[in-house]
Amino acid sequence: MAEIRSLRDAVAELVHSGDTVAMEGFTHLIPFAAAHEVIRQGVTDLTLVRMTPDVIYDQLIGMGAARKLVFSWGGNPGVGSLHRFRDAVENGWPRPLELDEHSHAGMANRYVAGASRLPFAVLRGYRGSDLPSRSETISTVVCPFTGEELAAVAAINPDVTVIHAQRADREGNVQLWGLVGVQKEAALAASRVLVTVEEIVDDLTPAPGAVVLPSWAVDAVAVAPNGAHPSYAAGYTVRDNDFYQAWDAISRDRDTFLGWMRETVLAAS
């Protein structure tokens, strides 16, 4: 059963240095508040998993919290490069970053296999691409009925998955809606699940398109209003597109980045 805890306590208990951590949310519901708490607590040597690293992992990578990144598209959506990600990969700053790189279809299916507790998933993908030459988690299987060769991707089973949702009830049942992305799969693939929410409510009234994660599939729920900012929570906040655009300048220079992180993230609590 999920316990309702402070974000600080939940991160301290569930996210450990050296863990494989997935913070999911496909553009929507990205758990920035939890990532900032991870940075503040000095958790490090993480293997970060996420389809779209986005600004959230740019920050973790730039602060040196990651040793490896598992991903499929590493840009600032609609804006340009993730400069901290590029600096880590190209120049090893602040530390080298190992990569395991997939396509979106491959990553999505890796989470599906993880949620299903299968060791791999099958897709018609990667054909002719150089991607398999750089990844040990892409292989092939042959259909026993037709003889067709298909791509196989290894399951992802994070030590901990962190997601943001609109709300939870007092039992810890979690409800999210809008673009639901791959959050259910990422949560169910993990050994431990931390969910930040906009608010705790008495009753989860049914909502169109809502996904409910029952309390017994979640370890901790922490209230973090606007906890997806600069991403958003449909029905509560809107995407701060200006911030995404401003991030380009903030993150381009190492010192500017570090100054911003110190003032905005490390100084907070």
Binding site: F26, T27, H28, M51, T52, F71, S72, W73, G74, G75, P77, G78, V79, S81, L82, F85, R86, V89, E90, N91, E101, H102, S103, H104, A105, A108, N109, Y111, V112, L123, R124, G125, Y126, R127, G128, S129, D130, L131, E148, E149, G178, L179, V180, G181, V182, K184, E185, G209, S231, Y232, A234, V238, R239, N241, Y244, Q245
Partner: protein, 246 residues
Amino acid sequence: MTWTPDELMTVNAARALAGARTCFVGIGLPSAAANLARRTIEPGLVLIYESGTLGSKPSRLPLSIGDGELADTADAVVSVPEIFNYWLQAGRIDVGFLGAAQVDRYANVNTTVIDRGPGRPEGRLPGAGGAPEIAASCGKVFLVLRHSTRNLVGTLDFVTTVGHGDGPGSRERLGLPGAGPVAVITDLGIMRPDPVTAELTLTDVHPGVSPEQAVAATGWPLAVAADLRVTDQPTEAELTALRRLT
């Protein structure tokens, strides 16, 4: 009215969607073109974004593929695994519309890394995203990018996404179900695979562009079609609709 080269590119990309029913939309230039098509030549076009929206009808151009309006205006919102498995892989999408960092003469695409020469670390690009499977499974594919020798190269540094592989028959040998790239739309003109060699050939230039300009901006000896056409000027309606979008 006057127009910019980028507007020329986007207007022509939108026109390419005439007759399409469903379009899997990459972010950036493809999204601008697909949304413009919905407002001009193909009002019933079903826009599908990899964030899981089927039939989005945004009023303004979304900055990202996950802007709230894409979900709010969609006929259906599904999970990311579902959009890739049940909708894209299943071959339900007519057109895939992709941007690209590097494209070679067979319309193969690199969005992964740039070789910056000996002793220098690779330059990092965003990566594959949905492109490998979009290019594999959509009925046909349009690429849209700016025309320069930096973007249109003799040899890709990395093959992220297969267009026509190493030439005729390549897609069949690889088992790629869709027809692959049928046009590369740039700010100078349009290149299409030659029916025999599958090599990208300049078939159209935009008004005011010479074929020599396009050849000079291409990183391989670009063939020019015997019946080279000039694309129609953007209409006032097209330009107005495009400028309202952004």
